[in-house]
């Protein structure tokens, strides 16, 4: 199971990459492996304001429907439309081409785990 460095993580196995006031969201390698083959992604609308921990996207695997939660609060400014056709990128490249959405942050990321903390969390 890989954990990408320089990202922050939630206990729901989402990651966030923070660059200035822009945050990019995705799901961790652990999450994609637990979900299994992903066959559908429902992306949020541009301009939607998200609270931290709000369900903002839906990922469906062969057997299950899963909500994906925002790691930090913010306004959606971009979504990865590639996933609508190539949903398997969430399985094959969760930290790269499998990113889900970008937001303009309106909150902080103090509650999130570092990669090291997430590794420990996965061990528990």
């Amino acid at each position: 199971m890989s954990i990408s460095a320089n990202l922050k993580y939630t206990k729901e196995h989402e990651w966030v990459r923070i660059d200035g006031d822009t945050a990019t969201f995705g799901i961790s390698d652990h999450a994609q492996a637990a979900l299994g083959d992903i066959v559908f992604v429902e992306l949020p609308e541009i301009g939607r304001n998200l609270d931290a921990a709000e369900a903002y996207a839906v990922v469906e695997s062969v057997k299950a429907v899963s909500d994906i939660y925002a790691p930090v609060a913010g306004e959606v400014i971009e979504v990865n439309a590639l996933l609508e056709a190539e949903h398997e990128k969430l399985n094959t490249d969760p930290y790269g081409n499998g990113w889900i959405a970008k937001v303009k942050m309106s909150g902080n990321s103090d509650e999130l785990m570092s990669d090291h903390e997430y590794a420990v969390f996965l061990e528990e």
Binding site: D37, F40, E60, V62
Partner: protein, 367 residues
């Protein structure tokens, strides 16, 4: 049931990276390490998929009134079977609703073999034994000693033929051979039928538990790919095959479930016949239809179906088909079965769909 049962192949499933889930009282693999989609693809695109379906039950019906008994307890016309033939059928209660759907194997006029659903096994056996007191017949539950494997896909015959003496080419669709199966120098009795639940050519293999691991390993060595429950459900749903607890249950009759083709009202009396005749005369309470989403999304079990903006019923089986997209079976009000714009409610939104015909994709069974 407090503890989950394991088939003789449990350790094999774990060794192959099987993700074990509870299913019908058993610990079974929902998928192996490469995932459900690759397993699905192996079966659909020319390989041989190997399924442990040992959880299913087997019942022997023996005695001089075996035929009369089965005519009375099951819906299809058992007198049409020749020795070595298999028939899809159902057990109904007096209300005409389903106790189970079954396959009936005719060994002789005095000996039949039934394959029944795992979740219904004890209910079925109790029902059959209760009815058997009126006939000169014995009902024997063989489930605990029997391993059932399904081998499905274009390469199924080649993978199995290399292991056994029975000439598989001589077994036609819905026929079976019964006899000695030799494997690694030992032999045992078994049944091999050209049947399945996937829409591909293939076999179902009934062997004693003592043979399970060696048969499983030999088939894998011959190139078969292990397939879990998730891919199995995808394959059966694409064919539109009914599954107990989904399309059929004790709440519907064959009139609703589109299973009048296995319900022979012109044969002698059988349990549920009067109720089915009555329902047929009154008309179905609801009707099973096949739909395909034209909007984005995956239709799933229990999602509501609307026709002309009015709630009409719900999905009984739904899936993402790599070949056909979002497809589902659904019950709707009888007046909505043929016409009216269909939508499926997905997370509060109406997603457009259209009626289609079954199977959702082409069947490759050898008819």
């Amino acid at each position: 049931m407090s503890t989950l049962l394991r088939t003789p192949l449990y350790d094999e499933h774990v060794a192959l990276g099987g993700k074990i889930v509870p299913f019908a009282g058993y610990d079974l693999p929902v998928q192996y390490k490469n995932g459900a989609l690759k397993e699905y693809t192996a079966v659909r695109e020319g390989e041989a998929g190997l399924f442990d379906i040992t959880h299913m039950g087997q019942v022997r019906i023996e005695g001089k009134e075996a035929l009369a008994f089965l005519q009375y307890v099951s819906t299809n016309d058992v007198s049409k079977l020749v020795d070595g033939q298999v028939q899809y059928s159902a057990l109904l209660n007096e209300q005409g609703t389903f106790i189970d759907d079954i396959t009936t194997y005719k060994i002789s006029d005095k000996a039949y073999y039934l394959c029944i659903n795992a979740a219904n096994r004890h209910k079925d056996v109790a029902h059959l034994q209760q009815q058997a007191v009126k006939f000169s017949v014995t009902v024997t539950d063989d489930s605990d000693g029997t391993t059932l494997l399904a081998l499905q896909g274009a390469k199924a015959q080649a993978a199995l033929q290399a292991l056994i003496d029975i000439d598989l080419e001589s077994i036609a669709y819905y026929r079976f051979a019964r006899g000695k199966i030799g494997l690694n120098g030992s032999t045992s009795g078994g049944i091999i039928s050209r049947t399945g639940y996937t829409g591909e050519d293939g076999f179902e293999i009934y062997i004693p538990n003592s043979f399970a691991v060696s048969m499983w390993k030999a088939l894998l060595e011959n190139g078969a790919v292990p397939i879990g429950l998730a891919a199995r459900d995808m394959l059966r749903t694409e064919m539109g095959y009914a599954l107990y607890g989904h399309e059929i249950s004790d709440a519907v009759t064959p009139v609703e479930a589109k299973l009048m083709w296995i319900t022979k009202l012109d044969k002698s009396d059988f349990i549920g016949k009067q109720a089915v005749e009555k329902r047929k005369g009154e008309g179905a309470k609801k009707r099973l239809i096949a739909i395909k989403l034209t909007g984005r999304g995956i239709p799933r079990e229990h999602y509501k179906v609307f026709v002309g903006g009015v709630e009409s019923g719900e999905i009984t089986s739904g899936m993402y088909s790599p070949m056909a997209g979002g497809v589902a079976l659904a019950y709707v009000k009888p007046e909505h079965a043929e016409s009216g714009a269909i939508t499926v409610e997905i997370r509060g939104k109406q997603v457009s769909a259209e009626r289609t015909t079954l199977p959702f994709i082409r069947s490759n069974v050898r008819k």
